[in-house]
Symmetry: C2
Subunit: 437 residues, 2 copies
């Protein structure tokens, strides 16, 4: 199909993915001398750092997501397609989408992000889902809330405890946030809302194969974070591999724990964009890029954010897969294209790291701003302000801030709804169903 | 399994369903001399009158739903089970649930509500879903928003128009609300957010086999409502039967309309509660009840709300399936049980009708308060105040009010997220898939 007749005159930039990298690129190209097509599988941009709050019933998806076309509505040179990219023809310079739609490009920005990785144990995905999309968050929310409901009805003591054991695998930022949030949820909803179970019953286990939580931070802050978690009642188990996962138990090293809810927060894998263009990638699928973020040998294709492995000069490791890096990369790719359209050239990409933060729970966060380290309440206030500030759209910011203020004052979680297909529960585990089939 | 040891001393009331009827009954029994078990398939009470706003992306589910156990958290004599009732043993006075859970009762209140009815054409359900649950609302929201996305990408003029035709079947309150809301959505989001389609393209068709919209109101208000709809750009087609429905077209009488989004708002059918207890029901499955809302011959079982067919003395028809009726019935059943526990007896159930309202869109509603009729802006203000007031929980009320104020000032719809599994679209229709299989 011919999609591009109107846009043949100006250079046409196609951006695949409207996460932090892709959306920043689109914004930087808005109302400029190029035509832009922004393609995403979803119709919304997701503020992923707060997704764990959807999974734990504190925020609704609408509070942390905004329709992409609404964000760029004023840029008449940008059109938005909700579509699935299946391949890229680098010879014909064409993006292939669903229903055989073809979109030709002059410049291409790949900003397709990452999914979680099960390190080859893909069968674990249905048992211990990860948290990357809104649908993931719904799934986790349903499982977590359903576990409490099942525990309340279960009269057998051991079976009840299995519903109240939550195992979170991976003690990076997502794992730590989830563990803290589930601990708070258990402690506070169980106090008033349930009759047969009490807060003391719930056991939240955070397990990691490494020696400390939040290993990307320095040791002092790591230790503070672990202390915060333990204050919330989280059971932190380090230096331990998960050897087996099933619907009703996990093996942490050689120890068996009965458990009906397991969550995966242990690893990420880049999207298959590298395969689409036959580019060289690192172990996690990120495309190695030049100093201007283009793909070696394919100067019209840029890779940004979680799709790119970019190692700054003199650094040992590539830049991490975090929102500020993705945004800067997206902006750079856009500016680089605009420069080339005018026959100019930008200096190489560089990234200035202002520091990083991680939250554990109410009043508890850690922050490291290039030497100035803080934790506890101060860290939490900084974390809250930064996250509300960066949320897209004034409305979301206002509503999220109100929601947080309300939750802070009342300990209430407003979104404790179990929606979607209800999972099989006490009657048969998935394994039993499989065996029966 | 033994579930009831602790509750053998006090009379045990089991309520099935936590809609308007069941929840009001539970509230009326809170902190009294009976033990209560409230069972619902979901963990939330849903404020169904505003569900169409979730389906049309104006509100999020959390704004119109509240966890049941949170609502009754202060009543320590009430326990809440999220469970599926499969049958009732009226001899042993036991409710049978999933996983072979059995709950014995002294008194039983059936408040199990209604679903939509396809009048024997059940194959239409997947083509034209109805709107009764949060999952229904997600499904409709996904279909409506996806239709605009597909239209934006479709270059074939006729196929594009099929995506922009919306057919709503049934011009009762739900159909009218949906038609008005979709018209507003089309008119306002298409103006700024899309590049290839414009508001004029979208066609919203409201079809009914009867002679007027909102037939439960008097003719003057019906005519006003139709005028309001037409002002919004809705195409109202009356005295017309839907003869055929498929994924890509509908037959309205003998006229074919290409259309990718059809919505069912034409009929309701009570839950199967009547079958569980082998009671006599009317054509739509509602249980005929005595003047004290008990089931004939089964004086310990009450039926309330949409589950009951109760015709007041001297009236021609049973009370309608609306929230105020269900609430009053639930309250009455609870008070009747409390009276019987004290060996007293209440006078027969009676219902005082204060009037009714229906909304069409921004600034447009009709209201009839026993003679005092109003429409347009005044009706809309009354409708808005009443609905915010009746929403459960201060927090929901505040957030909904803010959301409405914001939407009113900006025309913005905050929840335009397409979540869940994406339906097959241009590539193959469901019919084509079926044929291929």
């Amino acid at each position: 199909m011919k999609q591009d007749q109107a846009s043949q005159k100006k250079p046409h930039v196609v951006i695949v993915g409207a996460g932090f990298g892709g959306l920043e690129a689109a914004k930087a190209l808005s109302c400029t001398a190029v035509d832009v097509t922004l393609i995403d599988r979803h119709n919304y941009h997701l503020f992923q750092p707060l997704l764990y709050q959807v999974a734990t019933a504190a925020l609704t998806p609408a509070e942390i997501a905004a329709p992409i076309r609404h964000v760029v509505r004023k840029a008449k040179n940008i059109r938005v397609f909700m579509d699935n990219v299946s391949h890229i023809d680098t010879i014909k310079k064409t993006v292939l989408c669903d229903a055989d739609r073809r979109i030709s490009y002059d410049y291409l920005i790949l900003a397709t992000g990452a999914r979680h990785s099960y390190f080859g144990r893909d069968e674990w995905e249905s048992i211990a889902p990860g948290l990357k999309t809104i649908d993931d968050a719904f799934e986790l929310r349903q499982r977590i809330l359903t576990a409490f409901e099942q525990a309340e009805m279960e009269m057998d003591k051991d079976k009840r405890q299995a519903w109240l054991n939550f195992v979170i695998i991976g003690a990076g930022p997502t794992g730590v946030e989830l563990a803290g949030a589930i601990a708070e949820l258990a402690r506070h909803s169980l106090t008033h809302d349930f009759r047969n179970i009490t807060p003391k019953c719930a056991r939240i286990i955070l397990v990691d194969s490494g020696a400390r939580v939040l290993a990307a931070f320095d040791e002092v802050l790591s230790a503070k974070a672990q202390k915060h978690l333990e204050d919330l009642g989280v059971n932190v188990i380090l230096n331990t591999m998960v050897k087996h996962l099933s619907d009703d138990h996990v093996m942490l090293g050689d120890e068996r724990t009965d458990c009906r809810t397991a969550i995966w927060a242990a690893g990420v894998q880049a999207s298959p964009a590298g395969n689409w263009i036959s580019a060289e990638t690192d172990r996690t699928g990120r495309i190695f890029v030049e100093s201007d973020l283009t793909v070696p040998g394919q100067p019209d294709i840029y890779a940004v954010g979680d799709t790119a492995a970019f190692t700054p000069e003199g650094a040992e490791r590539p830049l991490p897969g975090i929102a500020p890096v993705a945004k800067k990369m997206g902006q750079y790719a856009a500016r680089s294209i605009l420069a080339r359209v005018r026959n100019r050239k930008l200096p190489a990409f560089s990234y200035r790291d202002y520091g990083s933060m991680a939250t554990i729970g109410r009043n508890k966060a850690i922050a490291d701003f290039k030497g100035w380290k803080t934790s506890g309440f101060t860290g939490w206030i900084l974390w809250s302000l930064a996250h509300v500030y960066f949320l897209i759209g004034f409305r979301s910011r206002l509503i999220v801030a109100l929601n947080w203020a309300w939750a802070y004052l009342t300990w209430e979680r407003g979104v404790r709804l179990i929606t979607g297909r209800i999972r099989p529960t006490t009657k048969t585990t998935k394994q039993e169903q499989k065996n029966a089939a």
